[in-house]
Symmetry: C2
Subunit: 663 residues, 2 copies
C-alpha cells in the first residue's frame, strides 16, 4: 500500500478524459503536485493510504475549471459603468479610470479578489491579459492558482508603458523572470490587430517563439472591427494576421465572434485555440460567436468570462451554461452543444485551447492535481436520474451553481476546503477594495460634476481666446452685407461656404455648461459637400458685457476635434437638455482697418426663419482689444444702416429653445 498526500473518495468522478469515463463511487489519489491514481473507491483505497482522506459522497469530482479569457484586475472596476455602448463604456469610463488608477498595487489587489471569486466557483486556471502583468503573476502564484499571464502590448501609451517598445521590453523582462514557474506561464498579449500595428504583431510573434510561450490576442470581437479591417486591408482579420505569421506562435484568440467559415478552417489548420466569451459578447451586444461551426470543424474552443467589468462576474458554470444555451438558439437546434461538450470546453478542451492540455484539463494519472468538488445534493439540483449516462453533465451545466463548489485543489495544494479559502482572507480584500472604489468614485464623481473633466477624460482639449465680440442682425436680403464687404476699409481674405449642424448639450447648476457638437459640411463651387469636419466646444455660462451695438462675451471656451459619432457624446454626457440648430453659412474672413474679423451670412434651417442673419465676430485674448473691436463693429453696422435696436443679442441656440426645438 502506497502512501500519498490526499485521497478524495466516494464521489462521482467525472474524469473528462478522452473516453469521458465516469466512475460512480470513485476516488482520486493526490501525490505532490499531481494525480497519482483515479479509479473506483474500493480499488484506490486498497492501493493507497493517506492521512488526509476526504469523503466526497453526494459530490462530483471534476477537473478544476479553466477560464480561457479574462482581465482579472478589473474586478476592481466591476459595476462601475454598465448598460452602455462599447465605446462609451471603454473610452468614456474604463480607459480613463485605468489610466488614473492602474498600478502594481491595484493589479495585485484586483487579482487577489478575482482569485477568491474564481476558487469559490471551482476555477483553478485562468488565461489573463492586462497591464503590470507581473503583478497578476505574483498575486496568483502567492494564492496558488495556475494562470497564463499575458502582458498587454498596445500601439498607444498604456498604464504601464509609455510606448509599445517599452511595453515589449517590459514583456520580455516579465517572461524571462517567470519562465519555468510551476504555476505561472508568462505570455505576450498584443491587445488586438486594430490596437496594434503589423510591426507589433510580428515582434510579439517573435517573442512568443523565442520563449515558446502562448500569444494571447483579441480577434474579431465586433462587427465594426471586422468591417473596418476589411475596408483597410481588403480581407478579414484572420487571413491578415496569418499572413503576418502570427499563427507560427501558440495563439489563443479571444472572442472570434465575427468569423466566416474560411477563417474558422484557418484557425483549425493552424492550431489556434479560441476563447468564447458568451456573457461579455451578449452584455456588450458584440454578437453570438459561431461556436457550433468551430466545434464541427475541429477548433479547440475554451470559454472565458472576459473581464469582470463586462460580465460582471467570473462564474464559469454560468458561462458554460450560457454557451450551451446560445449555441442551441443560434443553430435552431436544442441538440447543439450538449452539456458534456460545455463541460469539456471548460476542462479538457479549454486546456487544449490554451495549449496546456498536457498539464491539466482532465483527471488522469500524471496530470497536475487541479480538482474541483461540487456538492450535488442541493435542492436546486435535485433529484438525480441515472437512466441517461449524460445526466451528470446536464446536472453540472444546467442546474449546479458555482456556489455549490465545496473543495478546490490546485497543483496538489488545497485552495478551498469546505468552502473556506486557504490562501486568501476575504474580509481584508473586501476592505481594501472598498478603499480603492471610494477613490475611483471620488475621481469620477468630480469628473461627472465637471463637464470639462469629462471632456478632458476622453481626449485633448484646446483652450480658445477668452473674449468674443459678436453682433447679429436679421436682414431680409443680402444687400446690406454686400455693401459692407464693399466698404473701403474692408479687405476680404478668404471666403467659405458651408452647412452647419449643431447639437447643444446643456447642463444645469452650478456651472450651466454647454457642449456643442458641430458638424461643418464644406460646400464646393459646384454645390457639393467637399469636406466634413466635426468638433466639440465647451462653454460655461457667459459673463456678458453689453455695448451699445455689440456684446462682449467673456468665458472659458474649449474645443477639441470630435472623433466619435454624435451618439457617443449623447450617451456619454447625458445632458439635461439637448437642442439642435442647423444653418447654411457664407463666411468671409476679413480685415477691417487691419483687425481680423469674421462676417457671416446665415440662413437658418432649424429653427426655420425667413431671410438672413448677418453676423460680425471676432475673438481675442485681450479685453482692451475686445472693447476696441466692439467700437469698430458699431461703425460697420452704422455704415450699412443697421440700428442698434435691430440687433439680435441672443445666440441662435437660444432662439432654438424659444422656438421649441428638440429638447
Amino acid at each position: 500500500m502506497e502512501n500519498v498526500d490526499s485521497l478524495l473518495v466516494h464521489g462521482t468522478v467525472v474524469t473528462m478524459d478522452a473516453d469521458y469515463r465516469i466512475i460512480p463511487d470513485g476516488a482520486i489519489a493526490i501525490r505532490g503536485d499531481s494525480i497519482a491514481a483515479v479509479g473506483p473507491s474500493a480499488d484506490i483505497l486498497e492501493a493507497y493510504s493517506a492521512e488526509d482522506v476526504v469523503n466526497c459522497e453526494g459530490h462530483v469530482i471534476i477537473p478544476g475549471l479553466i477560464n480561457a479569457h479574462t482581465h482579472v484586475p478589473m474586478t476592481l472596476l466591476r459595476g462601475l459603468a454598465d448598460d452602455l455602448r462599447l465605446d462609451v463604456w471603454l473610452m468614456g469610463y474604463m480607459m480613463p479610470t485605468e489610466q488614473q488608477f492602474v498600478n502594481p498595487e491595484f493589479v495585485e489587489l484586483g487579482t487577489r479578489i478575482a482569485c477568491a471569486e474564481m476558487i469559490r466557483s471551482g476555477v483553478t486556471t485562468f488565461n489573463d491579459m492586462y497591464y503590470f502583468e507581473e503583478s497578476v503573476a505574483k498575486a496568483t502564484a502567492e494564492v496558488g492558482m495556475r494562470a497564463i499571464c499575458g502582458q498587454t502590448i498596445l500601439k498607444f501609451p498604456s498604464p504601464d508603458s509609455e510606448s509599445y517598445e517599452a511595453a515589449l521590453e517590459r514583456c520580455r523582462q516579465f517572461i524571462a523572470n517567470w519562465h519555468g514557474h510551476p504555476l505561472i506561464i508568462p505570455a505576450v498579449a498584443p491587445h488586438a490587430p486594430y490596437t496594434t500595428t503589423d510591426q507589433i504583431l510580428s515582434d510579439c510573434r517573435d517573442l512568443a517563439l523565442e520563449f515558446d510561450i502562448p500569444l494571447h490576442i483579441h480577434i474579431a470581437e465586433t462587427a465594426q472591427e471586422v468591417s473596418d479591417h476589411r475596408e483597410e486591408y481588403e480581407m478579414p482579420v484572420v487571413p491578415w494576421v496569418k499572413k503576418l505569421g502570427l499563427f507560427d506562435a501558440k495563439v489563443i484568440a479571444a472572442h472570434c465572434v465575427h468569423l466566416d467559415r474560411g477563417e474558422i478552417h484557418t484557425l483549425e489548420h493552424n492550431g489556434v485555440g479560441v476563447s468564447h466569451n458568451p456573457s461579455s459578447n451578449l452584455k456588450l451586444a458584440s454578437g453570438i460567436a459561431p461556436i457550433t461551426d468551430m466545434l464541427k470543424i475541429g477548433v479547440s474552443v475554451g470559454i472565458g468570462t472576459d473581464g469582470p467589468a463586462s460580465n460582471n462576474d467570473l462564474d464559469m458554470i454560468e458561462e458554460a451554461r450560457l454557451a450551451a444555451f446560445l449555441a442551441k438558439v443560434d443553430t435552431d437546434d436544442p441538440t447543439s452543444l450538449p452539456a458534456r461538450t460545455a463541460l469539456d470546453m471548460i476542462t479538457r478542451m479549454g486546456a487544449k485551447a490554451l495549449h496546456i492540455d498536457h498539464l491539466v484539463g482532465s483527471l488522469e494519472p500524471g496530470k497536475r492535481a487541479d480538482i474541483a468538488v461540487i456538492d450535488m445534493r442541493r435542492m436546486h439540483n435535485w433529484p438525480v436520474f441515472s437512466r441517461d449516462p449524460n445526466a451528470v453533465y446536464s446536472r453540472i451545466i444546467y442546474a449546479a451553481k458555482s456556489t455549490d463548489v465545496v473543495h478546490v485543489v490546485c497543483n496538489g495544494a488545497w485552495l478551498m476546503r469546505d468552502n473556506i479559502l486557504s490562501t486568501l482572507d476575504e474580509s481584508i480584500l473586501l476592505e481594501q477594495a472598498t478603499e480603492v472604489a471610494q477613490e475611483i468614485d471620488t475621481f469620477l464623481i468630480a469628473r461627472e460634476g465637471d463637464i470639462l473633466s469629462k471632456l478632458l477624460a476622453i481626449g485633448g482639449l484646446e483652450r480658445e481666446e477668452s473674449f468674443e465680440v459678436q453682433v447679429k442682425a436679421h436682414i431680409d436680403t443680402r444687400e446690406p452685407l454686400d455693401r459692407l464687404l464693399a466698404h473701403p476699409d474692408v479687405v476680404v481674405v478668404k471666403q467659405n461656404h458651408y452647412k452647419q449642424y449643431d447639437t447643444y448639450f446643456e447642463f444645469g447648476p452650478p456651472n450651466y455648461e454647454r457642449v456643442r457638437y458641430r458638424e461643418d459640411d464644406y460646400i464646393d463651387a459646384m454645390g457639393n459637400v467637399e469636406n466634413i469636419r466635426t468638433r466639440l466646444t465647451l462653454t460655461s455660462r457667459e459673463k456678458e458685457r453689453e455695448f451699445p451695438s455689440a456684446i462682449i462675451l467673456s468665458r472659458s471656451r474649449f474645443y477639441s476635434p470630435a472623433t466619435r459619432p454624435l451618439r457617443f457624446y449623447r450617451e456619454y454626457f447625458q445632458a439635461e437638455v439637448e437642442r439642435e440648430v442647423s444653418k447654411e453659412r457664407l463666411r468671409w474672413h476679413i480685415r477691417y482697418r487691419g483687425k481680423p474679423m469674421y462676417v457671416n451670412l446665415d440662413r437658418l434651417m432649424s429653427p426655420q426663419r425667413d431671410g438672413f442673419f448677418v453676423e460680425v465676430k471676432s475673438r481675442t485674448w485681450s479685453l482692451k482689444d475686445a472693447e476696441e473691436k466692439a467700437s469698430m463693429i458699431a461703425e460697420m453696422l452704422a455704415y450699412i444702416g443697421i440700428e442698434s435696436d435691430a440687433l439680435l443679442k441672443q445666440e441662435y441656440v437660444t432662439l432654438a429653445s424659444k422656438l421649441g426645438a428638440s429638447a
Copy 2:
C-alpha cells in the same frame, strides 16, 4: 410610537415604486400581511417599534421576486432528459413519464421542492400551470408563498382528466374552492391554441370572466407552432385568439417568441401580460422573443423560468440577467433592457403582467409585505461604486447570485431567515424526491431496454400476423412476372405503384430488434406522387423456417402510423446501426387458387442493383396456412422457371448492409 410586527432596518431599500425610489439607509415596517411604512431608517425607527428588528446593513431590500411562468411540480423531472429536440423531449420523455407518475402526491411534493428552491432565491410569487393544480395550491398555501395556480385544460386526455369537459369541470371546482384565498389566486390555463380547440378557449374565457380570475396560456412559443397556425387559419396566433374573444379575460401569455409588431400592439391594446422565458427559449432553441419591441410598445412583460425540466432551475436572478443579455444582442445595442428594467420585470412590471400589481411588486405602504433581502457584500459582488444611481440595479442583475438572498418575507410571514427555511424541511424533501426519481428511473430504464415499450410510449401500435411467407428472386427482365400474372389460377385484385424509402434502426442484444420507418410515395398513372404514407414497423429477430423454395418467418411484428418526422425517431431511438433501402415497387394483390398473396416487382434504387426482383409474399396468423402457402409459392415459381437455387433468401436491408449502406 406605533408598534408593528417586524422592522427591517439599515438596508438599501430598492422600492421599485413608480419613481424608482432608492433609500440608502432605509427601513421597512411590516404590520400583519402588509407594509406599514417605507423610509429612511432614522424616520422609521422614530415612528415605529417592534420586538423583531432585523439589521440589514450591507444588504439590499427588494420586493419579493415574481416568477411569471412555470410548472413547479416538474422539479421532479429536472434533468430527466436534456439536449433533445422539443418533440423528443416532450412526447418521448415528459408526457409518457407524466402520464405514468403525475398524481396529487407527486404534484404536492414537486411543488414543495420548487417552493424551497424559489424561496432560497428570493421569489415570493409564481404563476403556475400544471395538472392537479389544487395540489399545487394546497402545498403552496401551506408553505406560505403566493401563487397564481392555473389548472391545465387540454383537448386530449391528461394525467388528471379523461376529457376536456372533465378538465373544465375540475377547474371550475378548483376555482370555486380557492377563490378569495389570501395567497392563492386560482386561474384557468388552456394549455395553448394548438393543444386546445376554439370551443375550449371560449369556455375558458367564460370561466375566467365568471370568477374574474386570470387566464394563463402558452402563445407562439415556436416558429413551427406559428407557421402551422398560419397555414390552418390564415392568420397568426394572436389575432386568432383575439377573434375568439380570449382577451376579454385577464390573460397571461407565456413565451410570445414569434410575434409580429401588429400582434404586440394587439397584446398592448388588450392589456395582455406576457411572460418572457429566456432560459427555456434558449435551451429548447425556440428563439429569442422580441422583448425590446414589447417594452417600447408598452406591453407589461414579466420573466419566468418555465418548468424546471426545461431550464433546469428556478433562479429568477439568473433569468433576469439573461433577459437583459439577450435583449442587447438581439437589438445590437448594449443599452437595451438595462438592469433597472430587468429588475422591474421580475418585480413591479412582473406583477402587472400577472394582473396583481395592486397587491405586490413594489415596496410601498399598503402593499403586501412580500420582501427579499440580498447580502451584497460577497466577493463576487464587490466593490461598490456610488457614482451611478443605477449601480445598485446593475449589482443585483449582473453580479448577485440567487444564493446571496438571506431573508424572505411573504404576506408578512418569514419564509427564510438567515438562509434557514421556516416552513419546509429540505432534508425530508430530498429523501422523498429520491424515491420518486428511482421509480421514474426504473420505469424509463425498463422502457429504454425494450424498444417495443419505447414505441408504445409514444403512440398506439397494432400487432400484425405472426407468420410471413416470402420468396424473392432476381430477374433480368419482367417477362417471368408477366407470365406469372397470366397464370390461369391467378386473379389480380388490385395493382399499386409506389416508391418506398425505408430507414432501419437496428438494436443489438438481447432482442436484436429492428424498427423500420417506411415512406410510401404512391405514384399515379401520370407518374406523379399522389399520396404519401409513413409508418413504423417493429420486428424482433426472426425465427426462420426454410422450405425448399420459400422462407417462413415467425416473428412478433407491430406497426403504427409514423406521425412524426424521421428525424424524431432517429433521435428518440438512438439506434446502434441505421441502414437505408429505397426501391420502386409495382405491387399486385392477387389470389392464387383463392389464397390472397402479394406479388411485387421491385427495382432497387439504394443499394443500387440492375434488373428486377420479383417477390411473392403472404401473411397469416396460422402456421398451417403458412406451410400451405409456402408450397403454393413453390409451384408458382416453378411455373415461371425460377429454380430454388436462384432464390434470394435475404431481405433487402441485409443486402444494404452487405453493400455497405449508411450506418
